[in-house]
Symmetry: C2
Subunit: 415 residues, 2 copies
């Protein structure tokens, strides 16, 4: 067996470039900038890398050369390789030629968070932690509790106390320590940052965040691979912290660098809810900093009022010719219905946000009809049922053909 050369070099400050060892740390001691994982991708042969990926597992671990491990870890609940579906009926409704839906609700706990948690929990184990923890708006809570259970680690999961009951129940069932914090997500996040200083725990989105965030790159890799090793023209992505948005782009940049894909870089369009749109507001006002807001939207999984990667998201949207839009709660509900009725995919409010943003872009002529657009659906409708309650009619009848006929009399579909 040939020696595996690790392509992971160090942690590196995104602002000043200072390097740090590959430990559980997340902030630059010199400039307080965020740390991220630095790789040496030089000498990677594109044809060989492609073959290796195609021969790999049906999970994010097929992209192990681009993840922060010297050798791929064994994980009990692998994430990723979710479907990319061509959505012709949706495209037709929007007057577009080619729309693809990347359905990340197909992940183990039905959101894209399984990608980042799969990486973070594997790293936590490698670093010797016995407890994992997180601050979450819900999907991350489900995912951390599940992956910790599968790995046999103890977990502490911190959520805002007003979270959807679906997400509470789908977290507690895994036997985690579930902590409901009376406050906003930003309060929960501050508390976890404080606690991470005093506890020998791996807080997946605090002290191991640099590794965790790398998991999001795999969403970009899958889109390119599933399009036949091609780049789309445009990608529409929800923005909460802005990490997913920017990491999908990072993944595609790496693949361009290695030569796994060629051509023009896609336009990146971010989507937020009007009730929590600090990044969309800064974009509209042409600013490069983001003013924190107090969230008030049905899209709770996007309700981060003080988004850590907001400035990077703004930069990405601008330099790729994309943008960042905000949609109302009613538009979100309509977006959920539109996606369901045209694709058979039932998404949570965050997916309603991206679908509504795509519709807005199509309707205002922002998208050239000849473009190939990818709509990123990050989560599952079963987790935010309140958003569809009362949005359709149920016909209640007796168990007889007469009762059925009386209820549906005059319906055109009846023979």
């Amino acid at each position: 067996m040939s020696e595996v050369r690790s392509r992971v070099e160090s942690l590196r400050c995104k602002e000043c470039g200072e390097s740090y060892p590959l430990e559980a740390r997340f902030v630059c001691e010199r400039c307080f900038g965020p740390l991220e994982v630095a790789y040496d991708l030089s000498g990677l042969d594109p044809a060989e890398t492609r073959r290796k990926i195609q021969a790999g597992p049906q999970s994010i671990w097929r992209y192990a050369d681009f993840l922060p491990f010297a050798r791929p870890p064994q994980t009990a609940l692998p994430a990723g390789m979710t479907p990319l579906l061509r959505a012709d009926r949706l495209a037709e409704r929007l007057g577009l030629r080619e729309v693809w839906v990347k359905n990340d609700a197909a992940n183990p706990t039905h959101s894209f968070k399984d990608r980042v948690v799969n990486v973070a929990v594997a790293k936590a184990r490698e670093l010797g932690y016995e407890v994992v923890a997180c601050a979450s708006t819900g999907n991350l809570a489900n995912s951390v509790a599940a992956h910790a259970a599968a790995a046999g680690l103890e977990s502490y999961v911190f959520v805002p106390a007003d979270l959807e009951e679906q997400k509470i129940l789908a977290t507690g069932v895994y036997g985690t320590n579930l902590v409901a914090v009376r406050g906003s997500y930003d309060d929960v996040n501050r508390l976890c940052t404080e606690l991470s200083a005093d506890h020998e725990w791996a807080f997946v989105n605090v002290n191991v965040r640099p590794y965790y965030a790398e998991g999001s790159k795999t969403l970009g890799y899958e889109i390119a691979e599933q399009l036949g090793w091609e780049l789309p023209d445009r990608i529409v992505v929800p923005i909460a912290s802005g990490s997913l948005f920017t990491k999908i782009a990072r993944g595609l940049e790496e693949w361009l660098e290695v030569g796994l894909v060629k051509g023009d870089f896609p336009a990146f369009n971010g989507a937020q809810a009007e009730g929590c749109s600090p990044v969309a507001d800064a974009h509209a006002e042409n600013k490069s900093v983001v003013r924190p807001v107090r969230p008030d939207t049905i899209a709770k999984s996007l309700a981060i009022g003080d988004p850590a990667d907001g400035p990077y998201a703004l930069d990405l949207a601008r330099r790729t010719g994309g943008g960042i839009d905000a949609v109302t709660d009613d538009e979100i509900r309509d977006g959920i219905r539109l996606l369901a009725e045209t694709t058979g995919i039932f998404t949570e409010t965050a997916g309603g946000v991206t679908t509504a943003a795509l519709r807005k872009l199509a309707e205002c002529g922002e998208i050239d009809p000849s473009e190939r657009t990818v709509l990123v659906i990050t989560g599952e409708g079963l987790k935010t049922l309140d958003a569809v309650r009362g949005s359709f009619e149920t016909h209640e009848i007796e168990p007889t053909a007469t009762s059925f006929a009386a209820e549906f009399e005059g319906e055109p579909a009846l023979a």
Copy 2:
């Protein structure tokens, strides 16, 4: 391009062997036995078939040679190729060596029903139907509404009026005609059989049932392929109508016939809820006919009191050295927790039934510890949240480290 030879011969009566053309029909005119699809698998080369499967799509359509189509249809929402995960922590808890979980909650609408509906809706289109319909205990409702939406067909979905709200909402969102029938599933099924005579609709589990049922074979194919083209020693499957149970076996029998797998046939263990256990009761009483019951269980997706394939299920369990067990509602709830805590997979009540049945088999020594057992998980926990409500503690705190410390004082995991 070489001519594709269709291996689909006819519909054939399971009882008397009478043949019928490949139309929308389901019952033998001579003996009233159920019809099923007959294939000619002779001359299929195992090595070539295996290569073809491996080069196929990541969905049930990789097994097109064993599905009732002359050529594989294009479908907008492909089902299948769900994960088969080795569950070492579950095995350890049960004192077994090797347990695998086949997680069919990873399907598009999060149950195994997407397999049968994917096939049925494709067949309905091929036969020229513009409306699809079904009688459902919930999961089928979700799936028919979704696949009809994706295919651009109108749909009518009939469910018992007392269904879990999660399953109602996750059906109505697709824009189906949702009919809530005041009665049991068996009443709903009778009504649909009656309506199918008067309407030019494809009732997926009535008049196109012979095609529909074929979709379940793919669950068996995937288990064998994912085990490296090997058969497990034992498979634990929930029983509602008995169709899934018997069709998984049929799929494996076909593969043995073709030579795609070799070795001993697995023991088949069926699992029912005590509140609806007509097949388990008949098994315990050593009978070959099933006496209908009135269901009363939290496992509503298994609440079929008059199971059509009951006698075939009994025969399968007996001739493979398996069995059919029933578990209580409390054991179902415990089964859901056990699976979640050891694998990170959150299943609905039906999966609680199979997990509880597996535990029972392990505890009474029915399973040799050296066996390789596959546990079939057919659906998603987010659809039956009532079953876990109140089963765990939530710690509510203020957003301060002091409040956290006060709540968790003395916890051993705290550093």
